[in-house]
Each structure stands twice: as structure tokens, then as C-alpha cells.
Symmetry: C2
Subunit: 360 residues, 2 copies
Amino acid sequence: MSYKNFPMVSKVVFGRGSFNQLSEILAPKRLSMNAPFIYIIDDVFKNNQWLTSRIPLAYDDKILFISTEEEPKTSQVDAIVEDIILTTKELPSGIIGIGGGSVLDLAKAVSIMLTNEGEAKDYQGWDLVKHPAIYHVGIPTISGTGAEVSRTTVLIGPEKKLGINSDFTPFDQVILDSELTKDVPKNQWFYTGMDCYIHCIESLKGTYLNTFSETYGNMSLELCKEIFLDNNLTAEESEEKLMMASWHGGMSIAYSQVGVAHAMSYALAYVLGVKHGIGNCIVFDHLEEFYPEGVKLFKAMKEKHNIMLPQGICADLSDADFDKMTTIALNLVPLWENALGKNWKQIITPKKLKELYQKM
Amino acid sequence: MSYKNFPMVSKVVFGRGSFNQLSEILAPKRLSMNAPFIYIIDDVFKNNQWLTSRIPLAYDDKILFISTEEEPKTSQVDAIVEDIILTTKELPSGIIGIGGGSVLDLAKAVSIMLTNEGEAKDYQGWDLVKHPAIYHVGIPTISGTGAEVSRTTVLIGPEKKLGINSDFTPFDQVILDSELTKDVPKNQWFYTGMDCYIHCIESLKGTYLNTFSETYGNMSLELCKEIFLDNNLTAEESEEKLMMASWHGGMSIAYSQVGVAHAMSYALAYVLGVKHGIGNCIVFDHLEEFYPEGVKLFKAMKEKHNIMLPQGICADLSDADFDKMTTIALNLVPLWENALGKNWKQIITPKKLKELYQKM
């Protein structure tokens, strides 16, 4: 038996307003006047002076505003990398991602592809990255994905939705400033928070679970209950706790894996372009069979916050679409094995999976 | 307000038997044939083939067995560093500490002092280290101190017991193999486990607490209760959970601080040479005034495991000794401020502190 050697985020600042420390954190990391810092920022912040006025631009530093209407793609990573290489005099001093899971994953992938040859799609998988990434910083502005702490960056490639999993993927620096999450719209807050909740359930109910992942998962799950069910917190407390729930939920997957909801949601994202947070919710709502208690609590949370999930999103799909979706989902072997054990193929068949999708 | 930028352990393996992976973990870190790995190991393992036969010695690698009868000293660090410099052809490829908090702290301090000039005592304090340490690995063989995850290495110097707190202190690699803790004597298991429990109480009841530290502290505290009070676990489960409790308890102090028990116990160690784990227990047993619920639970745990603490250890002390002890304890300003707030000097006076010591 061999255990994973898990790489952690190198440095982390936590605190309300800690975003103000960005300048002093980056200063010693500037390699030269010609090696800029590149900021990859969710374009919801485009005219947000409150945030952008605190970004310490100097020399050739620049901001790339990124739309997160769609899930991040390998081709998008390649385009950003090409743009950076063509427009900077030297390799950047650092890549700083400011946004949700999509933006953080883009920042991680770009920092890797700046020092590794070829295209991003070549690195989708496990431990394919050869060279250390450029120094990269993650600053979440919404909580739940765990992207701030994970060793992966999940991308849609030409053939699959799969992460670049490597020791070089985790951030060198994370800034956890819950104040940056204060203006997240309620639905998005719920969907992304549920990404964290579902991580916990899939991790804690999985066959891969060990004590390391269990303790992180339990802590994150307790926080999710406090935030989404008990509902006795001030806005600020709730934002701080959700930020930590996301962090611990991400750590919980270090040794375990996600499960049925993520496998099915990945395929929904690939075929229909359904975004990760809401996709997880749509799927998880129908998984009583696999996670009876988890789904019960999820429905209670949904009700408490008056969340109406889209219905019938698979209504117009062709058989070919369903085939594609079930094939993509079933290819995610570790997720099914974690969820259902070694004999998972006897439990979940293409036919059964299609029936599940048809309910959604 | 400025928040700490906390450096984390770079890589961690968790799993029963993961010690077997040491060889493959170290192999890529060997800088040359002349740059050995130096193992600093608790001498309780001196004739323990089960452990030592799995240490992958090659070229000029060597093992230094260290007695942990006494708390680690700055002079001891200097002596080990001098020995390494005189007997190796090049700076070591890595320092590997295998033992409890004392050994882990020695390994951290030695790895720092191999690349920083002067004596270890010069670096007792905060952020005095100039150069990155030699690659260093921590492998705990007893759980509770949190030394495996902290950014300090606590040493007794000629003038004080104080840590070398720096961004270069945390381990580059930690191996958490609970099997290595299976033969810890019961009293030592309890004292060191209580170090963790007391970290949690001091952190959670401190004025420095934030949400980051609170979530880690809560998780660790729950694990301590499960292990030391509920007592429904198998030996293996208990060992695994205590290892994680220690890890999370250590992380909890990242943003908070320890408190009254540690301040008083540091002075006991300095003046009487009382070891850290038992010293904390002796002190904490008398701190109802500061931590009423925490001390109540502590007494219940003590009773459950039939632990008899030494009594009257301060009985023969002179007034000069008491003066020295209270002075040393009261010098630890951040600990008192965390425990009692900004006006701590009005709550704890030298006279009151002496009276507390006299009970012990």
C-alpha cells in the first residue's frame, strides 16, 4: 500500500481585509522590471473600484478580466499563455487569480503552462507536469469550490473535463479575505456553498476515506450545517465560516475523492455546459439512493433558502447525447470506485445512469 | 490591522505504515554522494530494529540518537551543527527528525543553523532567521505537541525558553504514520496528548482567536474528547485520531497563541527542568480560575486514565527561584495578552503567580 504525498499551499493569510496586504506579499517576489505580475480576475469586478483600486500595478503588470459564464477550457488556458508570452519581455514574476473556482483554476493552469511545453490538454490527468509552475497566488471571492487548496485545476478539454493534478498545481500563496465574498448573489452563494457540502458528503461516505480526510470533512460539514441550516450567524460570521468550510472541504478530498454527484455533474458540464456549482446541485437532488442522509439535509437547506433548481434540463437530449454523457461520467473510474467500491460497475450501469439523467 | 502570513508544511503523507515510503521520498532530494542525510532520532529507538531497519542509509548518511530526558537546548543544537559540519564533506541533503516534540524541534533548529551564522540562541524570537533552512523532514513518534506543523522550534537557551519562530522553520515534508506511536508508554501518551488538548483550550479561549484558528481548534478538541473521554475507539483508531488532533491543534495556534498554562510551564521547564508535557499538566490542573470548563474536562480525563500527577514540585523552592520563575513566565507577553486581554497585568501579578506555583 502506498499513500499519497500531498502538497499543501505554501503560505496562507486569513483575515477580514487581508486583501490589503497583497502589495507587501508580492513585492519580494518581483523578479525584475521586465517580469510582470499578471492578474487573472473575474470580470464581475471590472468596474469595481473597491477591489481594483487595491491592486498594486507597476511596470508591465497587467490585469486580464475573464468571463466565467462558461467553465474554464484548456484552449482558454493556451490562449492566455500565448498572449502573456507574446506581450511580456520575460516570464512573469507571478500569476494572481482573483475570483471563484473557474478563475482560480485558470490561474493555476496558466502558471503551469508558462513553464511546460505543449498544450494544456496534454496535462489533463495525474502527475504529467514536468516543471515547477510560475509563482501563483489564489484569492477566492466566493467560497465553496476548494480550488484554493486543491492540487488540481479542472478544465474542459477537447475530449474530457479533467483536472491537471500535480504537485506543482497548488498555490504558493492564498489570501483568505472573506470581505471579498460579501456581494456574491444569493443563488451563486448557495450553489457554490453546496459544492463544498457535496465534497464533504462524497468524501465522508466514500470508500477511500481515511482519518486525515475524515477529520477535515467532519469539520467542514459542521460548518456547512451551521451556515446553511442553523442560520444563526451574522453575515460576516457566515462569510468567514464558509471560507473555512471550503478550505477544509478541499483538504478533505486530499486523501479521498469526490463521488457520484461530481462524476455526473462533470458530464453535464461537458455536454450541456452546465456550470459546476449548479450542476452539482441538480444532480445531487436526485441521489437519495446513494447518499440518503446527505440528500435529505440538502433538500432542507434548499428549502430554507428558497432555492428553485432548474428542472428538465435533459428533456430534449438525443440518445447520442445521453450516450456521450454516460460514457464521460463512467470514465471517471476513481470517483465511482470511491463512491461505490471496487464492484461499482455492478451497481451503476449506463442504463441506470441514463435513467438518473432523464429525471433531471 | 495586519494578518500573519502563515507558512505551511510543504508536503504531508498520512497513513498507517507510510514510514515505509521514506526511501522513495528522500531519493530525489539527495544533492550528491557527499551531501548526506542526517537522521536525528529519539534514543528510545536505539535498538529497535522494527524502526531502524527501515531507515535507508547510503553513502555518508548517519543517525544521531538523542536523549530526550531533558528539554532541547540551544547549546545542544550548536553542538549537533558543529558535529555535522566537521564530519560531512558537504552540507547535508536533509535533516530527518524521528521522535516527539523535542526531537522534531531539534531537527528543525539544526536545519536552520546549518545555513545561518552564529549560535542558536541568537535566533530565539520572531523572524530572525535570514536564510532558508536545509531540507527537513519531520516524523512524529508520539502525538500531541503540534511540532510537526508549527512554525517554531522551542528551545531552552542560556537566558530563556523560547522558540525560533520563522517562515523557514516548518518542515518541508511530514510523514504521519500512527503505527510509530503504538509503543508510547501510557503516562507519556497522556501528558503529550494533553499538550494538544491544552493548545485547543488556550487557543479557543484566547482573545487572539479568529475563525481560521477556531475551526482547527474545534476539530482538535472534538478528537481529544473522543480519544480521552468517550474512550470507544480501537487502539489503532485512537492513534490515528490523536495524530490528527495534534496536527489540527498545531494549526489552531497559527493565528492564536497558547496561554496561561504554557507561560507557567515554560518557566517550570527553565527553572526546574520539568518536561513540557507533564509540566503543562501540572500547571493546568490548577487553572480553574482561567479555564473553568477546560480544567473540569481535564480532571475527568485524568481520572478516567488513572493519571497521578506529581505534587509539591515547588515545595523546596527559594524566594529567588520563585522570582526567577515568575519573571520568566511574565516575560511571555503574547501568551498573557492572548489569555487575559490587553489588561492582563491587572489580572496576573507576580504575587498571584507565585501563589499559583506554590500550590504545585
